[in-house]
């Protein structure tokens, strides 16, 4: 028996990340990766987060000791911001990027909160004439959640607020008859576009981001977010 080696199992978050990358690649997105130790500039300033915004508090963000202005990234939006900045420099507009990565928040852990988790973050920008719009955001996310949660999945937008987008939306998906909050998104705020070295009078686009762990928990019915990081192979069921 066992003459042939049995293939090893995959972590469910990796499986989901692969599925996400595939879904977005099919829609023309480029995969972007970036550092987990991030500068205050890319984590907050570029994204139009006010200097005194509560998200910058030590109670929410992991600031690095003896290294001024360095944080563990609190979202992977820092990666997509870096990506559009570079694309602008390289003259690669319109463009679209998708990033799945680990992010960190300083909070007490429980079944639905972790200090580290994965986020899927995307952005698409182009000229005003390209007209990358909220309708496009809805199109892209509807396609994505259909692939994640099944063909019958619906997506709707509700009003929200984030410093980096305007308009800002909460993205909800209907799964098994219930509307669930999945991520945040909207059109990139003109200040973000400016901070990425582009001209908001000439460029517009959308951005979105949300927890991958949450999608996994909903999709497979995994009861506790902490199970993902125990190194326990019993988790690898898919």
């Amino acid at each position: 028996m066992n003459k042939e080696i049995k293939k090893g199992t995959i972590h469910p978050l990796t499986l989901l990340a692969e599925e996400a990358y595939k879904a977005f690649s099919e829609m023309g997105f480029e995969i972007a990766t970036g550092p987990e130790l991030e500068t205050e500039w890319y984590n907050f300033d570029v994204l139009n987060v006010a200097k005194d915004h509560p998200a910058r508090d030590m109670q929410d963000t992991f600031w690095i000791k003896d290294s001024k202005g360095e944080v563990l990234r609190t979202h992977s939006t820092s990666v997509t911001a870096r990506a559009i900045e570079q694309a602008g420099k390289d003259g690669r507009l319109p463009c679209a990027f998708i990033s799945v990565g680990k992010v960190y928040r300083n909070e007490a852990t429980d079944a639905t909160h972790e200090m580290q988790f994965y986020q899927v973050d995307g952005v698409m920008i182009g000229s005003i004439e390209d007209g990358v719009s909220l309708a496009n955001l809805k199109g892209v996310l509807t396609e994505f959640y259909k692939k994640m949660l099944g063909e019958e999945t619906e997506v709707e937008f509700r009003p929200s607020f984030f410093p980096f987008t305007e308009p800002s939306l909460e993205v909800h998906a209907k799964f098994k008859g219930r509307w669930l909050e999945m991520m945040g998104g909207g059109m990139l705020h003109p200040n973000v576009i400016k901070n990425c070295g582009l001209n908001p009078d000439k460029v517009q686009g959308f951005a979105f981001g949300g927890g991958l762990d949450r999608i996994a928990m909903i999709k497979w019915g995994i009861p506790d977010v902490r199970l993902f990081y125990q190194g326990d192979l019993r988790l690898n069921q898919f």
Binding site: M1, N2, I5, K6, K7, G8, I10, E18, Y21, M27, G28, F29, I31, L37, M58, F62, I64, K65, L72, P94, C95, A96, K102, N106, M115, Q116, M124, I128, D130, G131, V132, S133, L134, N136, K138, G139, V140, L141, T142, K146, K147, E156, F157, R158, P159, F161, E166, P167, E170, M187, H189, K219, W220, I222, P223, F228, Y229, G231, L233, F238
Partner: protein
């Protein structure tokens, strides 16, 4: 913010029914935290978004928003207010800080502290607030109604006029007690926090909380009404440093328009006049140092349509602006509006796109998959990770993830909710723990040998690197992603056999919504039992498995699975493993023994089957 349906109906008698209203909040304004149906009233707890806290942290604001949104009539009660006649005043107000933009004060004489009228008590209690006394309640009613915090001082406890100034080192101020701080906070040894003072002493922590010694008490007969406006950043910093949360703080730190103050002063005066028709009102003293400028904003219907991906006409926009009573002019599709003073959130064209989008409803925006002229490049890091992961999996390694935090390392975080404040410098330590855990469960996992790996970031002084770690027996091997990738591509990473048939799904996982259900494991220990037996060669494993399955009871969580078989002298030996485990308790050997005996007894009934 808790909103009473009855309170709203004062202003919008045609308000839609309660269930409909919850949906209107959700899809056009903000999230509804809860809806509580009480006797005779319904309370909506809604999460006003930060950009609307200038105008919507109030019943009046919400009512106005709903009236415009739904195009229903708004009843303005102000013309009906009874205005007290007013006499000359000696009140002096001096602002000595640029963090106070406006301060309105008014002396009122001949009042009497006592219980509030019933309607005041009911309104406060409906939104979960406690009635304190008529004067304090009046200030609270005005805040929940208009959004403007206000305050009452006992005039007779003041020495000289009012001065708003930064604190000096020797200022001491006892704040009023609250449910959170029943003893009240003492402000001392603080320099530079904004105080409302008289000529001798501090009276209140400006915009945050009143002082215990200057507030109204049972004997109060003469008062000063305060309606101020303060710099939001200053308020937030002070309140945060002193760890004080009040409704006033919440409103000021989100920024209020100084233009709101006169409305609130008028309302507060009216309310106190209603309570004390014999009171003497003195003239309002209004020191308005940092005037809010009128703001104009330009936008075009075309750009709004492009942002939303929804064709919005000039007529539709004009109609919305009229409903919201926003002054505008337009030339073709270009609009210029005069931003209402309370709407501090409207600063750019995109803000108007949001306004129009949410008012029309985002359900009008239909999904369109974009086609853009962009050629994605290959991401090197991703390619390397995938290649290494596939190689390891093909060698039978399974993937785990562990925590990036540990109790020693080279990089430390400044503050953490956990005791692990360092970032890992290696993956090996985490993998060792994982190995230990999975070895205990190896029978459960049907693994002869536990083979695991992790790919992740490690952090050293001045660098972040992606590493890969995997085990070889009990040893951990850790390499950088680049090193291992080179070894994989050069074909020199091959200490063991690969999985024979290449699996095409390795690089392109099938995107199908895989909706299998996760099965949570039991947190109690399991007991593993093996059963091996000789049977004639004609007997297939499935026959044996069937007998075992029929007799093993309900506590087998895994198995029976065949882990060994061999032939000898016309007979065949099968060995099966069963894992017993309960989701409710720790099983005893005795209990498992009973089931096991049942299986062995059944097997013994077969003449040519022998337990080994």
């Amino acid at each position: 913010m808790k909103i009473s349906y009855n309170w709203l109906k004062w202003y919008i008698p045609e308000a839609p029914d309660r269930d409909k209203l919850a949906d209107i909040f959700t899809y056009h304004i903000c999230e509804v935290e809860s809806v509580e149906k009480k006797e005779g009233d319904t309370i909506f707890d809604i999460n006003i978004l930060p950009n609307r806290s200038h105008d919507l942290l109030s019943h009046k604001g919400v009512a106005q928003e709903l009236a415009s949104l739904l195009n229903i009539s708004y009843t303005d009660p102000t013309p009906k207010y009874k205005t007290p006649s007013s006499v000359a005043t000696n009140l002096k107000i001096d602002i000595k800080t640029d963090k106070c933009r406006r301060f309105m004060g008014r002396v009122v004489r001949n009042v009497k502290v006592g219980p509030s009228p019933d309607w005041v008590v009911n309104h406060l209690e409906s939104i979960g607030e406690r009635s304190i006394n008529n004067l304090v309640d009046a200030t609270n009613i005005v805040m929940y109604n208009t959004g403007q915090p206000t305050h009452c001082f006992d005039l007779d406890k003041l020495e000289g006029g009012i001065i708003v100034r930064p604190s000096l080192k020797d200022d001491v101020l006892n704040l009023l007690p609250s449910t959170k701080n029943p003893k009240g906070v003492v402000v001392k040894d603080k320099e530079g926090v904004m105080l409302v003072c008289d000529e001798k002493k501090p009276l209140a922590l400006a915009g945050i909380k009143g002082g215990a010694d200057s507030g109204v008490s049972d004997n109060t007969t003469n008062i000063i009404l305060e309606v101020g406006n303060f710099d939001p950043i200053s308020i937030r910093k002070t309140a945060q440093a002193l760890n004080i949360f009040t409704d006033a703080r919440k409103r000021f730190e989100n920024d209020l328009s100084p233009e709101l103050a006169p409305y609130a002063m008028r309302e507060l005066s009216t309310l106190i006049f209603e309570m004390f028709p014999d009171a003497t009102f003195e003239d309002i003293v209004d020191v308005y140092t940092v005037k809010q400028k009128e703001k104009k904003l330009k936008f075009s219907a075309d750009r709004i349509s492009k942002i939303l991906g929804l064709e919005v006409s000039v007529v539709e926009i004009g109609n919305i602006l009229e409903r919201y009573k926003i002054g505008y002019k337009n030339e073709g599709d270009v609009f210029e509006i005069i931003v209402p003073p309370m709407r501090l959130d409207l600063t750019c064209e995109e803000d108007m796109a949001e306004e129009i989008g949410r008012i029309l409803g985002y359900d009008k925006v239909k999904p369109i998959i974009p086609k853009i002229n962009f050629t994605p490049k290959v991401n090197e890091t991703y390619i390397k990770m995938s290649a290494v992961r596939n190689e390891l999996r093909s060698k039978g390694y399974s993937e785990v993830m562990s925590y990036a935090f540990c109790d020693k390392g080279e990089i430390e975080v400044m503050q953490s909710a956990s005791d692990k404040k360092f970032l890992r410098t290696n993956l090996a330590d985490g993998l060792k723990e994982s190995l230990k855990l999975n070895k205990i469960n190896s029978a459960l996992l049907e693994m002869k040998e536990v083979k695991i790996f992790e790919i992740g970031s490690v952090f050293k002084k001045g660098s972040e690197e992606t590493h890969v770690a995997y085990n070889e027996k009990d040893g951990i091997i850790e390499k950088t992603l680049d090193e291992l990738y080179q070894a994989v591509t050069a074909g020199v990473f091959s200490s063991g056999p690969r999985k024979k048939s290449p699996d095409h799904s390795e690089n392109t996982p099938a995107v199908t919504a895989n909706l299998e259900k996760f099965k949570m494991w039991s947190l109690y220990p399991f007991i593993s039992r093996d059963i091996a037996l000789w049977v004639p060669e004609s007997v297939v494993a499935g026959d044996v498995e069937k007998i075992i399955r029929e007799n093993m009871g309900e506590l087998v969580v895994h198995g029976p699975y065949l882990f060994d078989e061999f032939k000898k002298d016309g007979k065949i030996s099968y060995a099966f493993r069963l894992i017993f485990q309960s989701y409710e308790r720790t099983l005893t050997d005795l209990e498992v023994g009973t089931f096991f005996d049942k299986i062995t007894n059944k097997i013994k009934e077969k003449a040519d089957w022998q337990i080994r």
